[in-house]
């Protein structure tokens, strides 16, 4: 480890903390539907969209109506992408003449991008035409992110409103977030990326002759426009197979830093927006503090392990950090930090191959996702996921002091706690269940590239990533088989929508409640005690469930690595 490496980590967190309030303020304006300076330009577009689709943006929706409209919209988007991928061969903008995707891969990919997972069972440069990348996939990068933020807004309203039957209008939330937040930032961001070397062209590839006279074909395409929203919307689906490790997606250490910032930017801001929405910004800072604490521990362990390197490789006469699956321009620190960021948020872009991390270094991304990706988390999904843990934390605190628990002015009762547990229990159920099945049936065992405990970790990581809607991979596993495409498809769908529906039900239930003012007997939800309790609940509920599976995978792998045993 070096001082420079730690400086990178500290500056990274510092810059984000400085951006939290400005981003939170902007999000709060959208949350309230206030006019922004961008309305002068994009206001007519917004109004035109509503008029053409018969939407009244002032119509208030109850939680069921909000949920149904959100689900139907996502289902239609998914079908559109499925159709584009299946018809790729006959559609335009296909300079490399790529064929249509088979059914299982098209379905898996459509679910993957709809659920903000962006798991990729394919290699972009040799599978997707430019039209598929732009029209089939980029729209999801915007709209799955907008859906996530809209849901967070709806959840905030559950806490903020008093004796109300409604939690906002899905179409107004989704449209405003897309037009006044995601699109303008993406435009500026994409141009920055192009200036830094990310291609943006409709050409498919270009042939060159190398200095030694060999032929090399460089895959090109409209990369920058997709790259920008891929990071900002915590989507993570790369244009190329190597994702943000590919020099055309992430050409320099500077673009790498900006990419990491953009993964966390909206997630940090939303915590502030939550505090503002419930009338006390310290509530937002409290949950952000808990998130940052868990995050920093993970980064520290990952960086320590990667900088330390692999003793089996050292034994061969090679000194220094673990560079297998890493890019020289980033090095160990920026690779470890990126890995922790992309898995803490449910982004799933990678700038290094997690499969080739040291055993414990690779365990950190795994744990980050298993905690429910509530450490900052995916845009929207992270903060509502974390609030589910907050509900359980006040419940536990209430049990200890013998009072009805309250959180930000709302009594937390049996219904909310049951729904929160239901949402949180989905994660271990599917991850462990599907991993167990895949570890015994032949089609599952055919997947892993590596043998020994690392092979088991590849399977565990796959389903962890799918249910968590992360999309990063221990990419040695061959996932483009009917077995894995189907299992992963189900896992992604359940992992997204089986959490959203109970979460919206909680929002509806909370919105209907009276405001309960804070008294001397209320458990304070802003100080250090509360932050500690939150961290504890996340680690115990999120982490302990998975400990046995971690012992079989990365921990066994680590012991083998230290003993010099290979498989």
């Amino acid at each position: 480890m070096t001082i420079q490496g730690w400086l990178l980590i500290l500056v990274f967190v510092g810059v984000l903390l400085a951006l939290t309030k400005p981003m939170g303020l902007w999000l709060h304006a959208l949350y309230e539907g206030r006019r922004t300076p961008l309305h002068a330009v994009l206001g007519p577009v917004e109004r035109g969209f509503y008029r053409l689709s018969g939407i009244d943006p002032t119509e208030e929706m109850g939680w069921k109506r909000y949920a149904v409209h959100m689900l139907v919209f996502n289902a239609v988007l998914m079908l559109l992408t499925y159709a584009v991928l299946r018809l790729q061969g006959v559609l335009p903008l296909n300079p490399n003449k790529l064929a249509a995707l088979p059914e299982h891969l098209a379905a898996d990919t459509a679910i993957s991008f709809t659920t903000n997972t962006n798991w990729q069972s394919y290699a972009g440069e040799s599978t997707m035409s430019n039209l598929s990348q732009m029209f089939g996939l980029t729209i999801h990068n915007f709209l799955s992110a907008a859906t996530g933020i809209a849901l967070a807004f709806a959840f905030f309203r559950g806490f903020a409103r008093r004796e109300a039957e409604t939690i906002g209008n899905f179409w107004a939330d989704c449209t405003r977030i897309t037009l006044y937040l995601l699109l303008p930032i993406s435009i500026v961001y994409a141009l920055y990326l192009v200036a830094s070397g990310v291609p943006q062209t409709l050409a498919g590839s270009v042939d060159i002759t190398t200095l030694e006279g060999a032929k090399q074909t460089l895959a090109l395409g409209p990369v920058a426009s997709q790259e920008a929203i891929k990071m900002l919307g915590t989507n993570g689906g790369g244009f190329f197979n190597a994702n943000s490790a590919h020099p055309f997606e992430n050409p320099s250490a500077a673009t790498n830093f900006v990419q990491m910032l953009s993964i966390f930017l909206i997630g940090f801001g939303l915590t502030w927006t939550f505090g503002k929405a419930v009338g006390n910004t310290r509530q937002g800072w409290a949950i952000l503090s808990a998130m940052v604490m868990i995050f920093l521990v993970g980064v520290g362990v990952c960086y320590w392990q990667e900088a330390g390197g692999n003793p089996i490789v050292h034994h061969l006469g090679v000194a220094g950090p673990n560079m297998e699956g890493k890019e020289v321009r980033f090095g160990a620190a920026a690779s470890a930090l990126f890995a922790a960021v992309t898995t803490a948020a449910s982004c799933g872009a990678v700038n290094a191959m997690h499969d080739s991390f040291t055993a414990l270094g690779g365990m950190i991304p795994l744990i980050n996702i298993q905690l429910g990706e509530v450490v900052v988390g995916g845009v929207g999904a992270g903060v509502y996921g974390f609030l589910l843990f907050a509900i359980l934390a006040v419940f536990v605190a209430g049990l200890m002091v013998g009072r009805t628990p309250e959180y930000v002015g709302k009594k937390i009762e049996g219904r909310e706690v049951k729904l929160a547990v239901l949402a949180i229990a989905v994660l271990p159920l599917i991850i462990l269940g599907f991993t167990a099945v895949s570890a015994v049936v032949g089609a599952g065992l055919a997947g892993p590239l590596n043998k020994g405990p690392h092979g088991f970790t590849e399977i565990l990581y796959t389903f962890t990533s799918a249910v968590g809607n992360n999309g990063s991979a221990f990419a040695g596993l061959t996932a483009s088989t009917p077995f894995y495409d189907s299992m992963i498809g189900i896992a992604m769908w359940v992992g997204r929508f089986f959490i959203i529906v109970p979460m919206l039900a909680i929002a509806g239930s909370l919105a209907a409640k009276k405001y309960t003012p804070e008294t001397a007997g209320s458990f304070p939800t802003t100080g250090g005690l509360w932050v500690g309790l939150l961290v504890g609940i996340v680690l115990i509920l999120g982490g302990l469930t998975f400990l046995p599976s971690l012992a079989l995978g990365p921990i066994a792998d680590h012991l083998a690595m230290i003993a010099g045993k290979t498989f």
Binding site: F49, S53, A190, T201, T210, S225, A253, A319
Partner: protein, 195 residues
Amino acid sequence: MNNDLTSSLRPALVMTGLFAVLLGIAYPLAMTGVAQAVFPHQANGSLVVDHGKAVGSELIGQGFASDRYFHPRPSAAGKGYDAMASGGSNFGPTSQPLVDRIKGDIANLHPVPGVSIPPDLVTASASGLDPDLSPEAALYQVRRVAAARRLPEARVEALVEGAIETPILPFLGDAHVNVLALNRQLDRLGATAGR
């Protein structure tokens, strides 16, 4: 519930169409137009052109096997530096195939006594297209390249030192040497030194 469902159909269908046109067509095409007009070099792959012919991209690594050139890192992209098949080896830390591959790569190095092997020189990058080497990995090859080109080692070493790039802010990433740029400089030197 039924009313919720039927009332959602028109907005869902029409909004999908409108957003698809805005985000899936207008946005990427507008970005392409601006990029091609303002940053044509970067937007088309940052190509390196010698005498009117593209010999590579500044950003994409390419294979070098001759002793007269600095060699890049091992590559898991296709059969090596295949820019249509980016990717890493995905070998885990306890992988025997990883150990075998590293042993093979070490055997092909020209060893420098008393210097431990820089890790990037015998490990495959994440993309398989890493255009860079660490300064240590480039310096490790100076003796071999100088001998093959019958150049003084100090001259080649100075070339490497001059080619070291650092990020805008040094802590953002690691110092590195672009292999293609270094080898082109070497060829320019070679034009005057004995072939």
